[in-house]
Point group: C2
Chain length 430, copies 2
């Protein structure tokens, strides 16, 4: 019976962590997934929060308003925002309708901030204390029947205008004398964010300064929320994931996406690559007569292009990462470019000698070896240059270098590779 | 004067966060860097901890034992381990010699665990309480003159055999009645690690289960240390960085490495790629007569290989990430492979129509278009297959898929791309 099935599923899933249940649901084939959810009816807010975006929308779509109300009831405001921010309007409205007044206001406020901003990711439940309080006053406040967040690590100190001026760890409060002033115990690491600060900057700052939590302020410098390190860790993880996938020309995708969704995600990048490849072919087309004269050129030419493409990818990945970690800046960009040029030259020389020998021995033509060698050096130097300059320029233009650098750099190394090799061959051999 | 310079530098750097000073030192050209460090003499343990590994060793090399002693004095044991673990033996000995007995023991113990393990990254300073204590007993203990770590978020509960059995957040302790039992306040999220658990697993678990801190136990299940979320965030960041760089064929490198170091890091990957490229050339070599008969083939053949290479990189990046996040497992690998095959087929058909038309129109040969189209479909399907199967097999063999997948997949798509296109042309056109 379905009721019996339900009981069995509940018994099975009860001891499992929500993150693991979400993981399990993601791994099921679509048909089993739908069946499980329908029979079990046990997907709660925590599990929904852990699910891939696509699946989350799918499941919310199947829920009645009353079920949804049940699901979001226990979530804190930032988790609700996380749950609804990418839902379509109908679904979003359905979730907001079931929230009580204050929470709905908090969620709507958060949704009014830009996507991927500090305001979207902060928690509005903050433990704060006037900056003139003593340890004793803070302890009495915490022990009163005030409602505290599930997890908190700091008490934020605010001045009379609600501006956060410092914070004290709970450990310090617990171990200090009652009479001590909170400001004397404040941590040096304190720094706050503005609601519209990009989430990527927040994640970077948490990682760079080893922050545990940080207050978020509005335009008037008033405390409106807090970001904690567990949120920052999630953000950092998402940023990285995005960078990796973008560098490979894969949009936002997950394993649970359908064939059609995945095809659509990957198609644009392949289309861009097709344009690159056709450009490279047109360069080869310029040398049709040269190739007719010596077919060995057609055999060897992909080597130069391929080595350039790989060297370019190496340089651009280092540059893209260094831009993301703020290690590559205006003050050292020229030094980095010089270094990449030198590395390209040295590796170019190594592989020039190698490939020059191979080209000579393989086809018995010393001049073919020389052409291959010179083209290799040229293309590896150009690869180092393009791999650094392209991401830096894209960043300056406000385009995500992780997303677009690959296509540009490969175009450059393909075009230069084929042109240098075939052009030199046309001049020096034929 | 040098003393005056030193004063000026100190005044300038004093208000700056150690992480930012490290960042600044990294960005200086090598000559200015050495000059700054020599005149200032202000590099402390915190700054050293933040520096790139290469620079850290360089600076420690210039320090006298007394200076080193000064530098490591204020660091907690996990930071000392972090500082010395990759130093050469002489330098490591020099640092260990300046530590006091107990700390030296803790650091040596940590160094005895495998590299990149939980034991290497844990902090031995733990706040623990017997599991039969009440909130009042815990508070009295914390307020006694016991030495507490700088940052701690949980009190770990241990049983009579020193086994950690749960933990309580400081927030709970602060807001509960004195008479309440600590075990009643224990968090559900509790989970512990073994000293030899891989650091990557620890980082993944923190991210997956939203942990804040987790006890580390030895072979006898006794509490020996704790890992906190800020360490886990650093680990996760390092794991990601490593994956991104490995996928691009860049070893462990940083912007402050010299030209020679960088050349050496990148050379092996380029050498592997050279082998790949030569293999592809040998395939082309099989068809020299075919190409002599129709040079247009040489013009168009890189397009098929390039599209296959890109589609393969897309699939393999998704697979490598999914393996890292434990989303790709034995239970769904066949479904993922089927999906990749279908995606390859669909994108192959789209680009087959496109390129078939281009090939036909460009060279006025309908049959050339057909060959290009069929080769495109074959290569994109093979790319999807290889992009998924190769990383999965490498993982099974215990090889990091991020490191080695690229070379294998590109070899497959190059070889299949050239072979399919030129082979079909040989059969169908000539």
């Amino acid at each position: 019976t379905s009721a019996g099935d339900r009981g069995a599923i509940e018994q099975l899933l009860d001891p499992i962590h929500p993150a693991d249940i979400a993981h399990l649901i993601e791994q099921l084939p679509p048909r089993d997934r739908t069946a499980l959810i329908e029979v079990w009816k046990g997907v709660d807010g925590e599990i929904l929060s852990e699910l891939d975006e696509g699946l989350r929308e799918e499941i919310i779509d199947t829920m009645a308003p009353a079920e949804l109300a049940e699901v979001v009831r226990d979530l804190e405001s930032d988790d609700v925002v996380d749950l609804v921010e990418y839902l379509d309007e109908d679904q979003q409205e359905a979730v907001l309708d079931v929230l009580d007044g204050a929470e709905r206001l908090a969620v709507e406020k958060a949704l009014s901030y830009p996507e991927e901003s500090a305001g979207r990711h902060m928690q509005v439940e903050v433990v704060r204390a006037p900056d003139h309080w003593t340890v004793g006053e803070a302890i009495d406040f915490l022990r009163s029947d005030v409602e505290l967040p599930d997890q908190f690590y700091h008490v934020i100190l605010i001045d009379a205008r609600l501006k956060p001026v410092g914070y004290v760890t709970l450990g310090r409060i617990l171990s200090a004398r009652r009479g001590q002033k909170l400001t004397d115990l404040a941590e040096e690491s304190f720094r706050s964010f503005h609601v519209e600060d990009p989430a990527a900057d927040v994640a970077h700052a948490f990682n760079h300064y080893h922050l545990i939590s940080a207050p978020v302020v509005d335009d008037d410098d008033r405390l409106v929320g807090i970001i904690t390190i567990d949120d920052a860790m999630t953000l950092l993880d998402e940023e990285h994931e995005e960078d990796i996938l973008r560098l490979a020309g894969v949009g936002e995708g997950s394993l649970s996406d359908t064939v059609l969704e995945t095809t659509k995600q990957r198609l644009p990048w392949l289309a861009v690559n097709l344009v690159t490849a056709i450009l490279a072919s047109m360069v080869i087309g310029l040398f049709e007569t040269t190739i007719s004269g010596l077919v060995a050129l057609a055999v060897l030419m992909p080597i130069v292009a391929s080595m350039g493409g790989n060297a370019g990818t190496q340089s651009l990945t280092v540059a893209v990462r260094a831009i993301a970690t703020r290690d590559l800046t205006g003050s050292n960009v020229w030094r980095v470019i010089r270094r990449e040029l030198a590395v390209g030259l040295f590796n170019g020389l190594v592989f020039a000698v190698l490939m020059g020998t191979v080209g000579w021995v393989w086809f018995g033509m010393p001049m073919l070896g020389v052409v291959l060698a010179v083209a290799m050096v040229i293309n590896l130097v150009v690869a180092g240059l393009a791999g650094t300059v392209v991401p830096v320029i894209l960043e300056k233009l406000g385009v995500d270098p992780a997303l677009a650098s690959g296509a540009f750099v490969t175009t450059v190394t393909d075009v230069v590779g084929f042109f240098a090799f075939l052009g030199l061959a046309a001049v020096m051999i034929l």
